[in-house]
């Protein structure tokens, strides 16, 4: 194993200055290195945005009458906008596909890299460039538009000039979002071509692991939806520079048209966020149950139908903005319809657990929490999808709780669980299981303490995006429970990042290939994988979750299983 091919991807392969050290990462076209780079940058941004969320919740500790002011009122809009923009555009939209998709998609289909490695690197650079641009923009000028940039407010709002300059940070942020969008599109194209063209011999479409299926569905959404929002955001920039009145009703424009164009992308975007995490859960659960996943085909097809139907229900974000009644009914129906494939997945995961020998490893805990949180988030989505209740709940904390249950309790828990699952494979080291479990406990309890009261608050009429709240006893109690929850949650998040960093620096080395005894082929590579992933051409002879055949292969010694250490 002393040849170049046998070396881990983490090693520098030559000694020249450009190909070793930091530069060998930033100029690397290796999909594994790109995945790790995405991971490091994304979780740094994630932690930044978590701190902002913590700050926002701290502001809500006492009602208006107390004179408590953690955030000046004129900053509040900018703070939650920054929180949202980082979380959405820099963390959860690139999310699992950028980190684990880049790393494990080629491994799962037995390929040596993605189809266009250089374009993959370009995507990362676009992401990095857009991210820096967004952060710089908001620090220089602030932006209180909310992440949706809804006109006419986003056209007319004046930005705070911090250094005595007229810095138009809103246009700047919009341009950043446009650039980030191109990074996403190129990643999507790359993955679609990779899945179509580079599967190993013997891997038919219905022999692909479910994470690959979910990435496939996600990639189509990225390619289908992102260009529309790109051009729509650019029109706001044009509008701010040259006021033609595209979305200004006093000049004959139509602000509702913007909302349609915006949500045509941004609703599919929520499926871009959640589908990959669903795929990760579909990997973690059979591995930790040691049995085939229940209803493999239906999960694969459900991923694609969620993507398909998810493209057609954008206007349920606009029930309160004014729309033809027939259109509203249609979009409401489609919203309920998309719950069917989603629920199929939840049933399949729980059915997989039935009579299984379950190991409660850290990734499994996160996967189970995903099912719990996501079910609450999904079902409260039904409240919002029905026309009459939506009028009551629109623009309240109920919505905030709902999308945090799906995006954070769902997508982010799934992604964090996925990283706990794949950590030993990515770095050939093991983190502290004990501390990972504790981190999970803090996160799960903190998360539910933080967001569950917000459902009730919203139901009682607490509007979202408000700087403070009146001195009503029930409001005060619930807000304070919620704020205390945010402290527990932040502790949990910090612990998770701490466990990872500790695992990277001090973790126990473990070169064993298949530490969780998983049946999919990415676990047959070295830990960490070598530069070209597989030493030999891979040939697939069985279903990815056929644990019976897998156990026979391990017995026969042709496949690596978990070893006792």
């Amino acid at each position: 194993m002393e040849t170049t091919r046998g070396k881990s991807y983490l090693h520098s392969h030559t000694s020249s200055r450009w190909t070793s050290g930091f530069l060998s990462w930033i100029f690397s076209t290796d999909h594994k290195r790109i995945g790790v780079m995405y991971g490091v940058t994304m979780f740094s941004f994630f932690f930044l945005a978590v701190s902002l969320g913590f700050w926002i919740k701290l502001q809500k500790l006492y009602p208006a009458s107390s004179g408590w002011e953690m955030i000046p009122p004129e900053w509040y809009g900018s703070v939650f906008t920054l929180h949202a923009i980082i979380m959405i555009f820099l963390f959860i939209v690139p999310g699992a596909p950028a980190v684990l998709g880049n790393f494990f998609l080629p491994l799962q289909i037995g390929a040596r890299d993605v189809a266009f490695p250089r374009i993959n690197l370009l995507s990362f650079w676009l992401y990095l460039f857009g991210a820096i641009m967004a952060i710089v923009g908001i620090l220089l000028g602030g932006s209180d538009t909310g992440w949706t940039f809804t006109p006419p407010y986003s056209v007319t709002t004046k930005t705070i000039s911090m250094f005595g300059t007229q810095f138009d940070s809103v246009s700047w942020m919009l341009t950043a979002a446009f650039i980030l969008g191109w990074g996403t599109i190129l990643t999507g194209i790359n993955f679609i071509v990779t899945i179509h063209r580079m599967r190993a011999k013997g891997m038919g479409y219905f022999r692909m692991p479910l994470f690959t299926w979910s990435i496939y569905a996600t990639s189509w959404l990225q390619v289908l939806a992102t260009p529309v929002v790109g051009i729509t955001l650019l029109m706001i920039v044009i509008e701010r520079i040259m006021p033609v009145g595209f979305f200004d009703p006093s000049k004959g424009g139509d602000p509702i048209l913007f909302q349609h164009l915006f949500w045509i992308y941004s609703h599919p975007a929520v499926y871009i966020m959640i589908l990959p995490s669903m795929g990760l859960v579909s990997e973690i659960i059979p591995t930790n149950s040691q049995k085939p996943i229940f209803g493999y085909k239906s999960i694969a097809v459900a991923s694609c139908s969620i993507a398909g139907v998810g493209y057609l229900l954008w206007a349920h974000h606009m029930f309160a903005t004014g729309m033809a009644t027939f259109a509203a009914i249609l979009f409401s129906f489609l919203t309920f319809f998309v719950a069917i494939p989603t629920a199929i997945k939840v049933f399949n995961w729980t059915a997989t657990l039935y009579k299984a020998s379950i190991s409660l490893t850290p990734p499994m805990l996160f996967a189970l929490a995903f099912i719990f949180n996501f079910s609450i988030g999904g079902l409260t989505g039904m409240f919002l999808g029905s026309l009459s209740t939506d009028i009551h709940l629109h623009d309240t904390d109920f919505i905030v709780a709902h999308f945090h249950y799906t995006m954070f309790g769902g997508a982010a828990f799934g992604l964090i669980g996925g990283i706990f699952h794949y950590f030993p494979k990515m770095f050939g080291k093991m983190y502290s299981i004990k501390w990972a479990n504790r981190a999970f406990g803090f996160m799960f309890i903190g998360f539910n303490t933080l967001y569950f009261p917000m459902f009730i608050l919203g139901f009682l009429g607490m509007p979202r995006r408000y700087h403070t709240y009146p001195d009503i006893p029930i409001y005060v109690t619930l807000q304070q429970i919620s704020t205390v929850g945010s402290w527990i949650l932040v502790t949990g998040v910090t612990l998770v990042l701490g466990v990872w960093i500790h695992g990277l620096l001090r973790g126990k080395r473990s070169a064993q290939k298949n530490i969780w005894n998983s049946s999919t082929i990415e676990w047959q590579t070295a830990s960490p994988p070598t530069l070209y992933n597989f030493e030999e051409e891979v040939e697939i002879t069985r279903h990815p979750y056929d644990y019976q055949a897998f156990r026979d292969e391990v017995k026969a010694g042709t496949t690596a299983g978990a070893e006792d250490e």
């Binding site: 040849t3 170049t4 091919r5 392969h13 030559t14 040596r112 890299d113 189809a115 266009f116 490695p117 599109i185 999507g188 194209i189 790359n190 679609i192 071509v193 179509h196 063209r197 580079m198 390619v223 289908l224 992102t226 260009p227 529309v228 790109g230 051009i231 729509t232 029109m235 044009i238 520079i241 040259m242 006021p243 033609v244 009145g245 595209f246 000049k251 004959g252 424009g253 139509d254 048209l257 164009l261 070209y532």
Partner: protein, 221 residues
């Protein structure tokens, strides 16, 4: 086996079909980008039908037709260039490619004159700063001589859509220059015409978008 031979053999083996698939997906996203514009055009046209008709009459159909013919001809020379390369006539292929670049440039020059004449009639987009400085045009200065909303929207869309289209022509032109250089160097050759083919696909897409822009702005007056 040394590193170099591994990477050329294993990683960078070229999959022409895969590249073509990826490129078609990219073209799709470009079309979708314009689709958003066309959607906005459709909505405002139905909202301001009369104004759109009046404004469209101010556009010069003669110039529009001329440009359409130029762009269609450039698509033809592009195909001829690819055909020539595939049948091994490298020199002819380069000549046709030059013709295509020339026609693209001609399109841009004519477009430039057309825009310029619109500016001359003050039918241009004015910055907010310009208004503040008192350099108002009939487009944006409030008052009796201000254009109706619908016409402002028409010109706004006209400039943005043809402007984005012109930007695509410029990108296509630069790409063709690069391709020309590569044919010169021999990295694009009769056995490996893929890049020229994709460049051609891109050019046809730009052409296709114009085929829709032309009637919507010049003909349906």
């Amino acid at each position: 086996m040394n590193e170099q031979s591994v990477s050329t053999e294993m990683v960078h083996h070229h999959d022409e079909t895969g590249t073509r698939l990826g490129f078609w997906l990219f073209l799709y996203t470009e079309l979708f980008l314009f689709a958003a514009f066309f959607l906005i055009y459709a909505v405002y046209r139905s909202n301001h039908l009369e104004d759109f008709k009046i404004a469209a009459e101010s556009l010069n159909t003669g110039i529009g037709t001329q440009n359409t013919i130029i762009l269609l001809a450039s698509s033809l020379t592009m195909v001829l260039s690819l055909n020539a390369l595939k049948s091994g006539k490298v020199k002819l292929s380069k000549t046709f490619l030059l013709f295509t670049i020339g026609l693209g440039t001609a399109f841009l020059i004519i477009k430039g004159f057309e825009w310029n004449s619109k500016f001359g009639h003050h039918l241009f987009l004015q910055t907010a700063g310009g208004i503040a400085a008192g350099e108002g045009s009939p487009l944006l200065t409030p008052g009796a001589d201000m254009l109706p909303n619908g016409q402002v929207l028409f010109y706004g869309l006209y400039f943005i859509m043809t402007g984005t289209h012109a930007l695509h022509i410029i990108i296509g032109g630069i790409w063709m220059l690069v391709v020309y250089r590569w044919i010169d160097k021999g990295s694009i050759n009769p056995d490996n015409p893929g890049v020229l083919e994709r460049c051609g696909l891109y050019w046809h897409m730009v052409d296709l978008i114009w085929i829709f822009l032309f009637p919507l702005y010049y003909l349906v007056a």
